[in-house]
Symmetry: C2
Subunit: 341 residues, 2 copies
DNA sequence: CGTTAGCACTCAGCTAGATCGAGTGCTAAT
DNA sequence: ATTAGCACTCGATCTAGCTGAGTGCTAACG
């Protein structure tokens, strides 16, 4: 357990280091005013904090910087959430007041705003189709051999893909199929679509169309879970403004990771509800072990829809980002609620 | 007009510099074998070439590097197109043999391959809807106040957006509208959709639905030209592997530009058919004045569909990239032709 | 006359040494 | 328990000197 004085000193060091990116010395803390002890006393405490693993020294005769454990303690026990500024709040509010035609726009633009307000990189996962139901199915023939299959979900999400039309299927057959599918599949949750397709639709289909196994297979691919949420990235290059990322190779590593969808998904998988802070090596992807990721989920009627996140250096402004993500996730949830009605 | 010897020397310098990224000296050229003159002779020629503005010297006592004008001369007169390697050809061919469900996949993946094969950044503009016709229109109500409008083009392109349902419009009205629109708009080129909407559909619509001006307006936004071609980027970070881009600020400038759609469009606007090479300051966007952009259009039945491009340092391997883009654009055109049938 | 050998000169890049100063740890005084 | 004082450490910065790749010029050569 840390003493009050140790907590004050740790707070001061983390705050200073977040601002300046330079190792913090005992003298500068003493001069700040809020820790009214001489540099010598502070030095002693700093030595203790280092022994506890909360601080580290880049080299003898340099000041101290927080270790990952130090940041963790800071985030868990010392952080003061300042709330977000008038300006920022206004910007978010007026953004959500705008009229937008596609949820892709909303989510994409939300990512942009987050990166602008923080000067870090923002990563936003679009709403998952998880637990939504199928609203409408359509097959539009493009030419003799292929058609576009379109799926609309209850949330207004649209997915489409081109499918081959099996030989021997006429235009009238297609209409029959579409009608049947809409009758059988409307309002069926996506998780169940596959089984309903086999159990109910299969038999029915065989009555008036030949070669129905082939069709079923095509439909299945068309309806196959494209459940992967879409990823929106913004401000990826912001990391380069950080003094600790002046090295091109380090940066390349990180940006490469961000370009790779699978790595990103790995980062975001199985995140618990609410706000999460992953500091440095707490992240499951090695390339960003010098970064911290703060995430917040947004939900609708208790059901988590997606995640918004900020990626910055471990020396990031945790207080500001947490406040901002909290605010943003709630407003985004409100917006989605309005959207889904 | 350059003498044969000057051309040989310029070629040697450009080739060497492209490989090594180091200023090329007279001695190293002399030793290469293909220019059988002594360093002193070569030095004299180099001085002449510099006077002509084709070479420059980073500082006295360094070797020469090609100027933009030098690269231009090289590309216009000296370049040897080696054709592309067995390996690369195989990779592209097998890629196009794959089955893909959406053109977004095709084009996106093409971008990935280009960046992998070149180690530069690839930029691909998806097929423009220009000159395609409307194939199918659908309105799917999501709840009482909003619906998803879906447009399918003759090329299998799907666009969608959420629209508000004006008050007082019932489900049956919607069906009527959809039927009417499909009857009137099917196979109408997109450029004409707007006018047809006003002239033919407007009157017809007013017969059985009230408040039709409002609906028309909604439809117009729904059908409004979303003609902006989609941009696919890949390997944006590859620029960082180039020794002349070891500086984070330079890189940030370029990557920021790549994140900005408008800037990218500016780069690609009004590109003539076929292969184009834009060297350094020939590019209209200032941030990439130290880069070269090579582009190739791909077309279907004489109609240009889109553009594929490679962005690299001015010191890029023009011969290889030109060959590759040529090959890729032709295969992409073939693929699209098959796709459109 | 074109070509080449020779030579003095230039200059970025590297290395070694000197200096500086922010910051520490320890000890002794308060 | 706190603090003043002091010796010590070590990265950062600066300078001077050296090195070597490369040049331009001149004179000799075939």
């Amino acid at each position: 357990m840390l003493s009050e004085r140790q907590r004050m000193i740790l707070t001061a060091i983390v705050d200073d280091y977040i601002r300046s990116a330079e190792p913090v010395g005992s003298r500068s803390i003493s001069k700040r005013g809020d820790v009214a002890y001489s540099p010598a006393t502070i030095r002693n405490e700093m030595a203790d904090l280092e022994e506890l693993g909360l601080l580290e020294q880049p080299h003898t005769s340099a000041g101290r910087i927080p270790s990952n454990k130090g940041y963790r303690y800071y985030v868990d026990h010392l952080i003061r959430l300042g709330g977000i500024g008038e300006q920022d709040m206004l910007k978010i509010r007026s953004f959500f007041a705008e009229k937008m035609n596609m949820w892709e726009e909303v989510v994409g633009h939300a990512a942009t705003i987050l990166s602008q307000l923080t000067n870090y990189t923002s990563i936003v996962l679009g709403p998952e189709m998880f637990n939504t139901t199928l609203k409408h199915f359509q097959l539009v023939p493009i030419n003799e051999t292929s058609a576009v299959a379109i799926i609309v979900t209850s949330t207004g999400h649209v997915e489409h893909r081109t499918v081959a039309i099996p030989e021997g299927i006429g235009m009238d057959d297609i209409q029959k199929i579409v009608n049947l599918l809409n009758a059988k599949l409307a309002n069926v949750p996506f998780i169940k679509v596959k089984s309903v397709l086999h159990s109910e639709v299969g038999k029915e289909l065989s009555r008036f169309v030949d070669r129905c196994e082939h069709i079923l297979q095509v439909l299945e691919t068309a309806l196959a879970e494209n459940q992967e949420p879409k990823i929106f990235l913004s401000g990826a290059t912001n990391i380069m403004t950080q003094p600790e990322f002046k090295d091109v190779d380090k940066v390349k590593n990180i940006l490469d990771t961000l370009e790779e969808t699978s790595k990103l998904m790995q980062l975001f998988q199985a995140l618990p509800e609410g706000i999460q802070v992953r500091i440095g090596t707490e992240n499951s992807v090695e390339a960003i072990n010098q970064c911290s990721l703060i995430t917040a989920t947004y939900s609708y009627e208790g059901q988590s829809l997606g995640t918004i996140g900020i990626l910055g250096p471990t020396r990031m402004d945790y207080g500001k980002v947490i406040s901002l993500l909290d605010f943003m996730s709630k407003d985004l949830a409100l917006f989605m609620a309005r959207w889904y009605k």
